[in-house]
């Protein structure tokens, strides 16, 4: 298949840098970082931010525990066992009995990264479901999607799609974290829902391409299957991800396309230079610094765990004495104030010539400073006042 101009450009930018999996997890991480342009550029170029700065002082720990991987495999085995009996039982409890329970495993038809067979098979199976074919399956493992993101094809693999007796398709995620005493870990569940919302977008696109009505045939409710308590018996959590999907869709819509990045990215730049372990650290970081300056970054606490450039960006924040380094708790309280020095200056009470919004902040900071100075007075007077 011929490559688009965008794909050629992305390959040129990537150079010899380690590639990121072309998957929903990477997209979810980008969305979680608050649409950081530099993270978006890495996503567009298919660069793994986790491994980009390996061997430098900015390297961040990443990867998955081998224990977690093994557990994940076991949970998936349990889900698939006996014609996916565990899923069927929960599905029957949710949607009533299935007149015919058919299971198809698309993941056995293809091997990544050759997605074509998988995408085509998913296309055929979903078309069967939409046509209300009597032989259409109720459960589709490993559904593969080719989702067009800013004129570049992204491939996603949903764990499972469930077709209810009324012909409505639900996205199902199988996760290995447990749900103990009816409660799952909020952070883990949030990550699962974020991923599921991306599959939901891809599924809606496929259904509308096949002439179906996504609002009627694709449910906004996803089912997350997790082990119950401390054993491997599966239970499910139903989550409506309509709002989440809207947010993800909007974030992806606002993401600059490769051609938009082209205007800003310096000519001749490749991530390969940044990843080259044979170079000095300063030589590796310099081109990344240039790109970050022209493309821009949005630094926040969510970058920790979602972007391998976290330490690099954090150093830039400290170097520029930015308030963002202290987190949204501080920046939300001081809107319009960018740096530590500005905040300290405002606290000194000189508010002449300030715009009205900053005058309010300056007034509050000045009051805070007075309280701090008073508290720093000798202990004896403070204790007397407390009494």
């Amino acid at each position: 298949m011929p490559r688009t101009v965008e794909e050629d450009l992305a390959i040129a930018w990537r150079g010899g840098a380690p590639t990121a999996g072309n998957n929903s997890r990477e997209v979810a991480k980008y969305v979680a970082t608050g649409q950081c342009p530099t993270r978006g550029l890495c996503l567009a170029a298919g660069v793994s931010t986790d491994r980009l700065l390996r061997g430098t002082r900015y390297e961040v720990p990443f990867g998955q525990s081998p224990f977690a991987i093994q557990r994940g495999r076991k949970v998936e085995e349990v889900a698939r066992a006996k014609d996916a009996e565990a899923i069927r039982l929960r599905a029957e409890a949710e949607f009533g009995s299935f007149p015919r329970w058919g299971v198809v495993d698309i993941s056995t038809f293809y091997k990544k990264p050759n997605w074509d067979v998988g995408v085509l098979s998913t296309y055929e199976v979903v078309a069967q479901v939409l046509a209300e074919d009597a032989s259409a399956p109720s459960l589709i493992f490993g559904a593969a999607f080719a989702y067009e993101l800013k004129r570049r094809k992204q491939h996603y693999e949903a764990d499972v799609l469930l077709v209810t007796p009324r012909g409505v398709i639900h996205v199902v995620e199988i996760k290995s974290f447990p749900k103990v005493a009816g409660q799952a870990d909020g952070k883990m569940l949030g990550e699962a829902v974020a991923q599921a919302s991306i599959y939901l977008l891809a599924l809606r696109e496929l259904v509308s391409r096949l002439g179906g009505d996504p609002s009627q045939r694709v449910s906004d409710e996803v089912l997350v299957f997790t082990p119950e308590n401390f054993r491997l018996r599966l239970t499910s959590t139903k989550k409506n991800v309509a709002r989440r999907a809207r947010y993800t869709e909007e974030a992806l819509r606002l993401m600059p396309s490769v051609s938009e990045f082209e205007r800003d990215v310096p000519r001749g730049f490749t991530f390969g230079e940044v990843a080259d372990c044979g170079r000095e650290e300063s030589e590796r970081v310099a081109p990344l610094e240039r790109v970050a300056c022209v493309v821009g970054t949005t630094f926040g606490p969510e970058c920790l765990g979602n972007c391998g450039l976290f330490r690099f960006c954090r150093e830039r924040q400290y170097r520029d004495r930015k308030l963002a380094a202290l987190g949204p708790e501080v920046t939300n309280l001081l809107p319009g104030v960018e740096t530590w020095d500005e905040a300290l200056e405002l606290s000194e009470g000189r508010d002449a010539g300030l715009p009205p919004n900053l005058r309010v902040i300056a007034d509050r900071l000045a009051r805070a400073r007075r309280l701090i100075d008073e508290a720093a007075a000798p202990v004896a007077s403070h204790v007397r006042r407390v009494r």
């Binding site: 977690a68 401390f230 987190g327 708790e329 501080v330 606290s347 701090i372």
Partner: protein
């Protein structure tokens, strides 16, 4: 966050050292509390792969399960921990002193002292609750009276940790956050060593000490990279033990795994102890004496309930 805290955090960032938010110490400090670090394997919430604990400045002890995914190995390891933990936890109730009278006019006796457990972060506090839940679902064949008691104790500590001002379970990251305006984001503050580095460091600015400090782990989930090495040791341990789960027989095979956890815990425990004793050196807030009396009263009520009065109703509410 108040403007005072935001300004103090900004001042701390500009000066290179966190500013103190409280003049006094707002938690009771014991001379010899129990410092506790818990480790769990990735993906297995509620299973304890290892626990490291030390009373005061005494040498630390690490107990490992080998492969905590095996219920028997897990139960035997927790039983061994329970033997040490329960005896330490219960002994405070043996010496009592009069403290007012009950509604019926009887003299009320309250434990002379109460235990204090120090953990590094909020995740460990939550893990203790999870561990208590896990022990409750162990099959009867694996349960022992010590394990039941451990579960009750952990449950009590976990439940009580939500009560304001209590000092029975002290979470160091939360304590530092209360006493200092730490110039880090909320996610960064979860690393005790990072939070500690903003307060006490040998560099010109705390930022220079941050990356190194973040390498130190406090659990309960170790990094994936570290677990890769451990995974191989656990595989060898499983191969060596075959199907044997008897603690006495598997203990000689646990050396490599134990060494690994001990080396992981040593620097963390050092920082935990150093941070605690540094904060303990601050002058106590005037209210602490009466608040500690309340802790002792609750501890006494709980221990009496757990030691036999359980039939009379629910556990005393925190």
């Amino acid at each position: 966050v108040s403007y005072v805290k935001a300004l103090l955090a900004t001042m701390g960032a500009a000066e290179g050292r966190a500013r103190r938010l409280a003049r006094f110490r707002h938690f009771h400090a014991e001379r010899e509390p129990l410092f506790l670090l818990c480790w769990r394997p990735g993906g297995e919430d509620g299973r304890a792969a290892a626990v490291t604990f030390a009373i005061g400045r005494r040498p630390a002890r690490t107990i490992v399960a080998g492969d905590p995914r095996n219920w028997e190995l897990q139960a035997h390891m927790l039983h061994e921990f329970a033997l040490s933990f329960n005896s330490w936890f219960d002994r405070f109730a043996s010496l009592r002193e009069p403290c007012g009278r009950t509604r019926q006019g009887e003299e009320r006796l309250v434990a002379h002292a109460a235990p204090q457990v120090i953990v590094a972060n909020t995740a460990t506090k939550k893990f203790l609750g999870r561990l208590a839940q896990f022990v409750k679902v162990l099959p009867p064949a694996l349960r022992t009276p010590e394990l039941d008691r451990l579960s009750l104790h952990l449950d009590f500590l976990h439940e009580l940790s939500g009560s304001r001002g209590q000092s029975l379970l002290v979470v160091m990251t939360e304590t530092l956050d209360f006493h200092y305006a730490i110039p880090l984001t909320a996610a960064e503050r979860q690393s005790l060593s990072a939070a500690d580095a903003t307060i006490a460091h040998g560099a010109a600015h705390y930022f220079e000490a941050l990356a190194e400090a973040e390498e130190i782990q406090f659990g309960p989930l170790p990094s994936a990279a570290w677990e890769k090495g451990l995974f191989e040791l656990v595989r060898k341990f499983n191969a060596a033990r075959g199907k044997v789960t008897d603690r006495a027989l598997v203990v000689p095979l646990l050396d490599p795994v134990e060494r690994e956890y001990r080396s992981l815990s040593e620097p963390s425990l050092e920082i935990l102890r150093r941070g605690y004793y540094r904060e303990a050196g601050f002058q106590a807030a005037p209210f602490l004496h009466s608040r500690r009396l309340e802790d002792r009263r609750r501890y006494t009520l709980y221990v009496d309930w757990a030691s036999g009065g359980r039939g009379r109703g629910l556990a005393p509410s925190p």
